[in-house]
């Protein structure tokens, strides 16, 4: 089903990445997307451009310089006090305004709460296609974007194209693409854009921001080491064995989905297709069978150790190191072994 691109879209060029900044912090997924965007731009022989929206602060300024370190040739900037907290209305206005004016052929955003909120409304404003939660982006032979995403909980993959509309939009989950090495010597061009809105035009007001720092929240996606337990733990109380090992190695703990469904652990601890994608240096999976929906969330880990009583468990297909044994005895033994062998850790046991 090859179609001619309508004349009005012929001038759409370059690859754009939306840089997500919330309360002064750049979400790392933005740099992961820059790494990927750089490859797409090079394949097409076009520029990689970053979009930075925010108030005029030192944080925003720092983010702008970083876009070049992570590969941007051009940074499109809209600085306005109205962009201080994320709100859909001014962000949609700024991003669609930039797209209409500078006409990129590809626009990528992180599949985070902010990115999904913004991408959905921007795509609708622009009346273009948006592929959600892509895990692979590639330039097809006809120079269009081929975005691949898991379907039906990861049992199949599908490749989606945006026909006859521009820009071609896609969101990508954090930790799916590798983090590129920054090159701090790189710089590039800045293009400024004005928002053209007044506070009175914006209906939604932010009354307060309650930081998770005050309610202690898991940061599984960016943890270096993750230890997780599944139904093989048998009792909610045994989750303590997972937590203790995680603590000894200074990592985060997580669970497979059934434990969340049973109420043994909060949803934010779930790893996998409908939970968090992780990409740690070390992942230890105890009593987890390795269902596809779990595997798609852990495949990016550098090293995977699986503990399971069933030698045929599918988790061993994805693990690098396998132990066929009872997790209830191996987890404490591992915690003790790490405590013994890591200097300064002996006391923690």
């Amino acid at each position: 089903m090859q179609m001619q691109l309508a004349a009005k879209f012929k001038d759409y060029r370059h690859v754009w990445v939306f840089v997500e900044i919330e309360r002064g912090c750049v979400h790392p997924v933005s740099w992961e997307l820059m790494g990927e965007g750089r490859k797409l731009a090079d394949d097409l022989g076009v520029d990689l451009c970053a979009v930075v929206l925010g108030p005029r602060t030192d944080d925003t300024k720092a983010a702008i310089s970083q876009t070049y370190h992570y590969g941007a040739d051009i940074c499109y900037i809209c600085e306005d006090p109205l962009l201080a907290d994320y709100r859909n209305e001014p962000y949609t206005r700024a991003l669609t305004g930039l797209v209409d004016k500078y006409q990129p052929e590809i626009l990528l955003l992180g599949a985070t709460p902010l990115g999904r909120d913004l991408a959905g409304s921007v795509a609708t404003m622009l009346q273009t296609g948006l592929t959600a939660d892509s895990t692979e982006l590639r330039i097809a032979d006809d120079k269009s974007l081929a975005a691949t995403r898991p379907t039906f909980g990861g049992t199949l993959l599908c490749t989606i194209h945006t026909l006859n509309h521009r820009p071609q939009m896609a969101t990508v989950r954090p930790r799916v693409m590798a983090m590129p090495e920054p090159d701090r010597s790189r710089t590039g061009r800045m293009v400024w854009h004005s928002l053209g809105m007044a506070e009175g035009d914006i209906v939604t007001k932010v009354l307060e921001f309650v930081s998770d720092a005050r309610i202690e929240k898991a940061n599984l996606a960016y943890a270096d080491i993750v230890v997780a337990g599944g139904m093989g733990l048998r009792q909610p109380g045994n989750l303590a064995l997972v937590q203790r090992l995680a603590e000894v190695v200074g990592g985060e703990w997580g669970v497979s989905r059934p434990l969340v469904q049973k109420g043994w652990a909060p949803a934010e601890r779930q790893i996998g297709q409908t939970g968090t994608t992780i990409r740690p240096r070390l992942y230890i999976a105890a009593g987890i069978s390795g269902a596809i929906q779990h595997r798609v969330g852990v495949e990016g880990s550098d090293l995977i150790v699986a503990i399971n009583t069933d030698p045929d468990a599918r988790i061993f297909d994805v693990a690098h190191l396998g132990v066929v044994a009872d997790a209830l005895t191996i987890l404490p033994a591992l915690a003790d072994a790490f405590a013994r062998r890591l200097p300064g850790r002996a006391l923690a046991s």
Binding site: E22, C25, D85, N88, E89, T112, P113, L114, R116, D117, A119, G120, A123, T124, M125, G129, L130, A132, D133, T151, F152, G154, T155, L156, L157, C158, T159, H161, T162, L163, N164, H165, V203, T204, K205, V206, L207, E208, F209, I225, G250, T274, R281, L282, V296, L303, I304, F316, D317, V318, H320, L321, G322, A325, I330, A333, D336, A337, F338, L342
Partner: protein, 289 residues
Amino acid sequence: MTRLAREFHSVVCIKQVPDSAQIRVHPVTNTIMRQGVPTIINPYDLFALEEAMRLRDEYGGTVTVLTMGPPMAEDALRRALGLGANRAVLITDRRFAGSDTLATSFALSKALTRIGEEHPIDIVFTGKQTIDGDTAQVGPGIARRLGLNQLTYVAAIDALDRDGATITLRRRSEGGVQVLRSRLPCLITMLEDTNTLRRGTIQDMLRAARAPVTTWSAEEAGIADPMQCGLRGSPTVVKRVFAPRPRADKAEMVVVEGKTPAQTADAVLDLLFAQSPNLEAALSARFKS
């Protein structure tokens, strides 16, 4: 969609989805085997439905459920009526087949406009996402098309002032929760685990079996231009469906026979640090100070 000072009215968009826990993929053809797979209301939509009913119980008014789907999607609507929804609307038309999220939000927003003409809407609710398409794009699409204030990932509705037409709520965002005040009418996508779905009463269940379900074709839903529906109205196309490629090598198995758990654990660490010397260095450095 301007709100008139009448009784409170929420519309909850629900999608009928295959119970994915029971989905199987044909090993040879790589197609989804849907035959015999039971359908359910998208689980995320039930949090939206419960929240709408909770507001109705507090402020009075009506909860309408709306779905776009094949004729059998009526089952999902009847189930929602059985749980306590007041009215149900199904839009069904062969021209809707193959809709992507842009076409879906177009059709739903037309139906919402028609519903709103008869009975002004204060809040449109959707779920956070579905378990099949799983894009989370339809809610924002509807909000944008109808010019409703878009409030996604809502964890709690704190206050509703019908006279002032304002709503105060908590929205999940990166690293925290935003407390927002916005105006009605608005669109809310409800986060999971934010409430507990009620059991329908016997009366509701009995009513659900007989209650009329309003059924509209594309034309009846107010869609004059079918070019914006279904496949033709969808900029995205699925070009290829395929199975993930399995990893070639299996895990290296640690020998456990004749070993105590402590010895096994030591063997695991030896292999781990042999495979990744950096890991040992990084771990040790971490706890030095």
